[in-house]
Symmetry: C2
Subunit: 185 residues, 2 copies
């Protein structure tokens, strides 16, 4: 099976909020079921699009504009794009929404800062709190909560499978996925 | 009809050598026939990927790396990418080739410099020759001729239709296009 309707599911949230974990699990399942799907992940994309570029507001903005254009073209050609970016500023997410149009869906990975700090998968919060790195979202830099995301995932409370199920139910409601798709754990 | 085999046809050549003219005509015909096709054009892409970035060797290299990644993902998802970039340095084209793999095809728009200067569609050669702009390929900057492109278009001699026909014949030989595709003028 190969779908023809593309979309961009744009995951936003604090570092370590679980964005990429949900996106990766969803990617794995959808690929198994024959969907054309692409995971765009912050770290990987920086290598290709913004090598040597920092994390100031302007740097983030330029980077996310590039990512938005990529997501736009993939969406246009029928790919399900799972875009996982902290993307802390509303204006950057709104830029993506405007470029991509009605197939753009903002997915907010809503986990409390203290949970994210406790997880600290790559030890980045620790470094930021010690002042070793700057411009870190949640520590020195603000995170602007989405005022009206299409979907909120409570990634600190829900098991992973539940978040993925909520995502799939949402994508079915928008006719991106067929009803047959199920989470297999 | 919708093909499933993607590719990147990477047009390279001097400014005003006719790259985009051929790519645009090919795009128009392929779209009419139901192919998934995307034209990536230098000027347009700079807006999205490298706003404010110049034309030094390093700037060009960074820009073309971004473009290569975009072309790679579109190709992977079955899109026929027509990429039209002066891309004067071999190493940048080789980077794209390595990233995209066997579905990368280098198309050399081979027109003599004097013909390109005479065409001068946007008046850029005139400005470059007057020293008003720098880093202009063919004037201050070198153009490294592809040593072994998959296809050479003699865009100063051939009528446009002939170049497009040669492109289509080549893409048929690589099973990207079906035999039914014809140039309609």
């Amino acid at each position: 099976m190969s779908q023809s309707v593309g979309c961009t599911a744009w995951f936003t949230g604090l570092p370590c909020s679980g964005k990429t974990t949900v996106a990766r699990k969803a990617q794995e399942i959808l690929q198994q079921q024959g969907y054309r799907v692409e995971l765009l992940d912050g770290d990987e994309l920086r290598k290709h699009f913004s090598a040597g570029v920092g994390f100031s507001k302007e740097d983030r903005s330029n980077h996310l504009k590039r990512v938005s254009f990529l997501a736009h073209l993939l969406t246009k050609h029928g790919v399900i794009v799972l875009a996982s970016f902290v993307s802390p500023y509303r204006e950057n997410r709104d830029y993506a929404r405007q470029l991509i149009g009605k197939q753009f869906f903002e997915i907010y990975a809503d986990a409390p800062l203290e949970v994210c700090i406790k997880r600290d998968v790559k030890g980045m919060y620790k470094k930021a709190l010690a002042g070793e790195i700057k411009d870190f979202t949640g520590v020195q830099d603000p995170y602007e909560v989405p005022p009206s995301p299409e979907l909120v995932l409570k990634t600190a409370e829900e098991p992973l499978e539940q978040s993925v199920e909520k995502l799939f139910a949402f994508l079915k409601s928008r006719n991106v996925l067929s009803n047959g798709v199920a989470v297999r754990v």
